[in-house]
Symmetry: D2
Subunit: 335 residues, 4 copies
Amino acid sequence: MVVREVPEPPVGPSDVLIRVQYAGVCGTDLHIWEWDAWASGRLRPPVTIGHEFAGEIVRLGPEAEASGLLAVGDRVTAEGHIICGHCLQCRIGLGHLCRRTQIIGVDRDGAFADYIAMPASNVIRLDGIPTEIGAIMDPLGNAVHTVLEGGGVPGSAVFVLGAGPIGCFAVGVARAAGASLVVASDLNPTRLELARRMGAHVTLNPATDDVVARVHELTGGDGADLVCEMSGHPAGHAQAFAAARLGGRVNLLGTPSRTTEVDLARDVIFKGLTLYGVTGRKMYETWLQMLRLLRAGQLDPSPVITHRFPLEAIADAIAVIKDGRAGKVILEIAR
Amino acid sequence: MVVREVPEPPVGPSDVLIRVQYAGVCGTDLHIWEWDAWASGRLRPPVTIGHEFAGEIVRLGPEAEASGLLAVGDRVTAEGHIICGHCLQCRIGLGHLCRRTQIIGVDRDGAFADYIAMPASNVIRLDGIPTEIGAIMDPLGNAVHTVLEGGGVPGSAVFVLGAGPIGCFAVGVARAAGASLVVASDLNPTRLELARRMGAHVTLNPATDDVVARVHELTGGDGADLVCEMSGHPAGHAQAFAAARLGGRVNLLGTPSRTTEVDLARDVIFKGLTLYGVTGRKMYETWLQMLRLLRAGQLDPSPVITHRFPLEAIADAIAVIKDGRAGKVILEIAR
Amino acid sequence: MVVREVPEPPVGPSDVLIRVQYAGVCGTDLHIWEWDAWASGRLRPPVTIGHEFAGEIVRLGPEAEASGLLAVGDRVTAEGHIICGHCLQCRIGLGHLCRRTQIIGVDRDGAFADYIAMPASNVIRLDGIPTEIGAIMDPLGNAVHTVLEGGGVPGSAVFVLGAGPIGCFAVGVARAAGASLVVASDLNPTRLELARRMGAHVTLNPATDDVVARVHELTGGDGADLVCEMSGHPAGHAQAFAAARLGGRVNLLGTPSRTTEVDLARDVIFKGLTLYGVTGRKMYETWLQMLRLLRAGQLDPSPVITHRFPLEAIADAIAVIKDGRAGKVILEIAR
Amino acid sequence: MVVREVPEPPVGPSDVLIRVQYAGVCGTDLHIWEWDAWASGRLRPPVTIGHEFAGEIVRLGPEAEASGLLAVGDRVTAEGHIICGHCLQCRIGLGHLCRRTQIIGVDRDGAFADYIAMPASNVIRLDGIPTEIGAIMDPLGNAVHTVLEGGGVPGSAVFVLGAGPIGCFAVGVARAAGASLVVASDLNPTRLELARRMGAHVTLNPATDDVVARVHELTGGDGADLVCEMSGHPAGHAQAFAAARLGGRVNLLGTPSRTTEVDLARDVIFKGLTLYGVTGRKMYETWLQMLRLLRAGQLDPSPVITHRFPLEAIADAIAVIKDGRAGKVILEIAR
C-alpha cells in the first residue's frame, strides 16, 4: 500500500466528481493493509482504497447535472455500495444485499485520494452536518441499521456487545432512539470510556464482570430486548445469545473470522430468539434516519473520533488502530 | 352525581382491594357529569365513577394472594378495562378491543371512592413511580399507544393535533421515543404552553397559524411521518390528513361527537395513508413501555398536572376542566 | 379522442421500444373519453392514452442494451408509473407514492398505439405468462397490492366490496394467498358471476342481501379480517367499516368521486380499525408476488377478460364497459 | 414406562375434565421412553406422559362452567403449555415463551390416559374437526407457527428441510398459505412420499441430490425465501443457511441434540438472513389460523397419520416410530 499520484477518475454521465476532504479509516482498510486472506482473495490491485469519506462536489456528469439535485460546491458524503438495481434484492427494498454490489475502496477505486467519482444516486448532501462527521456516516449508518432493525427500541433494554467505533456509535443511536437502558461491554477500558461518553448507562468488562449475569440483573432478570453483537468473536456470540431475553433479538454486525459453535436448541429455539445479519446500510431508509438524528442534534458521534492524520501519515493511522487505543481515526485530505 | 357513603366493594378470590389515594378526572367523567346522550345510554346508576387512579393494596382474595405477585402495602395502579379473555380479540393480542370489556367507573364501580376492587391481573405495581403519576397512567397509556403504534418514531416528524392532557402526554412520549421533530397544535394557548413544557419543538395555533402549511414547511415540504389526532374535531381530521406525508400514518385517538366528511380519494387513497383507531392501551405492551419510560426518567408527565382537589370538591374539578385552562386534574382522595 | 397516425416515439438511452400487442381498457380511460373534470384538469393533449399493455421489445437504447437484461423479441409488460427515484418516498421503498410520478397514457404518451417507449427499469419480462395476461398486470397488481398489504391473509376472512375487474382479481388473489373465506359483493349480477368464477365462496348483492349482517354471520359474528374496498362509493365505505372485525383492516382502492361522511368514532376508533389507501403497485414487490402467483398457476385472471376489440373499435370497447356488463376489456393491437 | 391404573385427576374450579379419545405419540415421548439425559433431568416420576390429544368434556369446574364457553359433551383438544400469565413474555403476547410453562405429559400429568384435567382457558373446541385430527393439532400448530412466522408466504418459495410429521405438516401449511413453490428434503423415502402427498412440488434426498444446488436451481438462482428447518441436524443447518436467499428467513424448529458450527459471517451476516427459533404455538394466534385452515378444508393433515394403536400397544407405537417408517402415530384410547 503506497501513496502515489494517480489520474483523476473518469466521471460518467450520471456521476459526480467529489474532492475528498475527510476520510475514515475502517477495519476493512486494516485487512487490506495486512493483505490477509480475504483481501488478497477479493481486491485486484492497483486499487485506491478507502470507503468512508466526505467532501465537496467539483464536477457533475451531464445527467447528474440535469437532475438538478446536486450542484458544484455541495458538501456531500456517499453510500459506498454501488448496486445493480435489477436483481431480486434490489427490487424488493433489500438493495444493501445486492449480489452484484461494487464497494468503493474494495472493488473499485475509493476515497483515500484527492478525488472520487460516484454515481449521483449514491451521493448524500450533508446540508449543514459537519463535513468531518459526513466522513463517518458509513460506519455510523451500520450502527443505525443494527440498532433500529426490528423496531421497538423506545423503552427497551439494549446491550451493545463490543465497543469499537461502530459499537460506540450504536450506544449513541440507541440513546437517541429512546432506549431506557443501554449497556456496553468490551475488554478495552478506553473503548468503554468512549461508550460512556456516547451515553451508555452501564459499561461492563468481561475481564472482570460476569457480563451475562449483569445484563440479567440490570433488566430485572429478563435479559436484554435487543443485543447488538459488534465484536465478531465466538465468545461474544455466546454472551449475546445468553444475554438476550426470551423472545428477544440479536442483531449481528461484528464479522467473525472463523466459525462459532452455537447451541441452537438452548440459545435460539427454546428462547424463541430472532437473529438478524447486518450488512451495510438500508438504501436509503438508514441514511434518512441517520440524517434526521444528526440534524436534530439527537446523535453526536464526534466523541468517538479520537485521532486525525494527514493522508501521508496513513501508516500512523493504521498503527493507532492496531494498538487498540483509537476510536474512529480520520484522514484529513483537504479542508 | 353525588358524593355519598357506599359499602366497601366485595373482593372476589382473584381480586385485590385497593385504597385509592389519587384519581384523575377525565373527559369521560364530564360526559357523565353532564349526563349526555352517551352517558345516559351506557351507564346504569347507581355506579361509582372514575377510572384513573392509584393507591395501596389493603386486601387480597385467596387466589390473588396465592400467586405471590402482589402484597398488602404495594402501591399500584390498574388497567381499567376488564376483558373476557376468550373472544377472538382477546385470543390474538387485541384484548383492548374485547367486545365484552367492562370499564371501571362506567360499566362497574370505579375509583372516585375510598376503595376499589380490581382483578389482580389488571393491577400494575408502581415500584417507585410516584403514586400521583400512577393515577394518570390510564391517559398516559393512551398517549403511548397513539405515538408508538406503527413503529418508526426514532428520527421521525410527529405532529400532535390537539394539546389536551393526552396530547401533551403524546408530545412527551414522542420526545422520549426519539422523534426528531415534535409539533403540537391547539386553539388554547395554555395547552400550547403545556405542550412546550412537555418538549414540543414547535407549537401552532390554528387561530393564527396555517397549521398544515407550517407542518410541511417544518418538514422540508414532506409533511409529518406520524400525525396523532387528539382533537376529535372534523377540522382536526382535515388538518391531520393534509399534514401527513405521502405514505404517512394518522393515529386517531380524539373521539368525535359527530361524523366527519372525508375526501378518501384525495386524502387517504392517493396519499397512501394508513389510519389507525386508538382504543385504550394494549394489554399489556403499552403498560410495559410506559413503565420503562417513566422509570428511566425519559418521560415526566408531571408538568401536565395543573390542579389538585379533594374528592369533595369534584364540582370544582369539573369546572376547571370545562373552562379549558386545566391540564390534568387530580383528586386527592387519601395520602 | 381519435385514432390517428403519430410518429414513432423517441427511444432514450435507457429506454426500450415495445410493439404493443394487447392493451387493457381501464376506468381511467373512460374518464378521459368523457373528458370529465379530472381528465380536463390533468391531461395536456395531444397525448396517446392507455396504460395497461403488453408486447414485444423491438429496439433498445444503448444503456438498456448494455445492461444485458432485456433483448429484442422479449415479451414484456411494464409498470406505468415512471418515478423520480430521489424523493423521500422513492428513497424509503414507497416509490408508488412518488410525487413526481409520470403515468403513461395520462402524463405522457401511452399504450393505445403500435409502439410505446418505456424506461428499461419499468419493463417486466413475461417469461411465459401469456401476452394477453401481461396486458392486465397493471390492474391485477392493484388487486395484489390491495389484498396483500397488511399481511396475514392465509386463514383469514376477506370481504371484497365491489366486483369490477379489480375486485374480481382481488377475489382470485385472496384465494391464491390462502384466505379461508372470500366474500364478494356488487349490485351487478354479471360481476358477481365473475367473482364466483374467480373463487368467491359467497357473493352478496346489496339489492337483496343485508351485506353487513351476512358478513358477520359468515364469520361467526366476528366480521371480516380484511375488507378490500373496491367500489369507491360512500355506501360501500359504510359497509366496509361495518363489516370489518374489531381490530381488522380496510384497504381502500376504489376511488370515490366525492367525499364520504365517516363516523370515525364508532367505525374506526372504537373498532381499532386500520385503514390503508392503495395507490398503484409497490415497486416492485407487488410485481414479484404477481409474477410468482401467475407462473405457479395459483392465479388465473383470464375469466375476468370478457371482451376483445381491435384498436379501431375502441368506441365499442368503451360502450361495453359503460353499460356494465363487461369484466376486463382488451384491445388487440397486434398479435 | 408402564400402563397402570391411576386415580382420576382432580378438577380445579377453572378446569375441565376430558375423556381422552385419541392421543398422538411425539418424539418427546420417545426421549422419555428411552429415559435419556433430557428426560431424566426434567421429569419427576411418576407422571402420566402424552401431550397431544383430543376427546370429550365430561365435567367442568364451577368457574369453567360459569363462563358458559364449554359444555359437557364438547369435542375438544388443548394447548399443552400451561403458562403463568404474568411474566414479561405472557404480558407482551409471547406466552409460548413463558419461563414458568408447565407442559402436560412432562411437568404434570398428561394425555396417555382415560382422563386429563386441563385449565378451561387452554381448551380448544373442535366444532366439527374430526377428533382424531384434534389429537395432532399440537404438532400441526408447530408447523403453522414455523411456516407463518415472518409473513409473506403467499407467492413465496418455501424449503422444508426434514420431512418428519411436523415437516410434512409444514408442507401442507405452506401450500394452504399460498406458497408458489414448496420443496421438501429428507433422507427417508417414506417421508418424502408423505411430503409429496401433503403437496410438495419437489422432494429432494440429500443421499442423492445436491439439495442446496437444487433449491437454487428451482428458484432461478435466488434461493428460498423461507427455510423451515425441521431436521435438527447440523448438516441440516448448513443446508438451511445455504439454501436461503439473500435477505431470506430460516425458521428453526428441529431441536438439535448437540451444538452446530455456524459460519455466522458467510451464512448470516453477509446474507442478511433472519433466523427465528420456534417454540410451541403462539397462544392463541397459531390455534386460530390452524382452526380456520382446517375448517375451510385448505389443510388436511390426515395423510401423515400412518399408524394407529390401542394404548396398551404403546411399545409397538414407539417401535414403528423408531424404525423410521411412520408418519404420525395415534393411540386410540376411546371412541
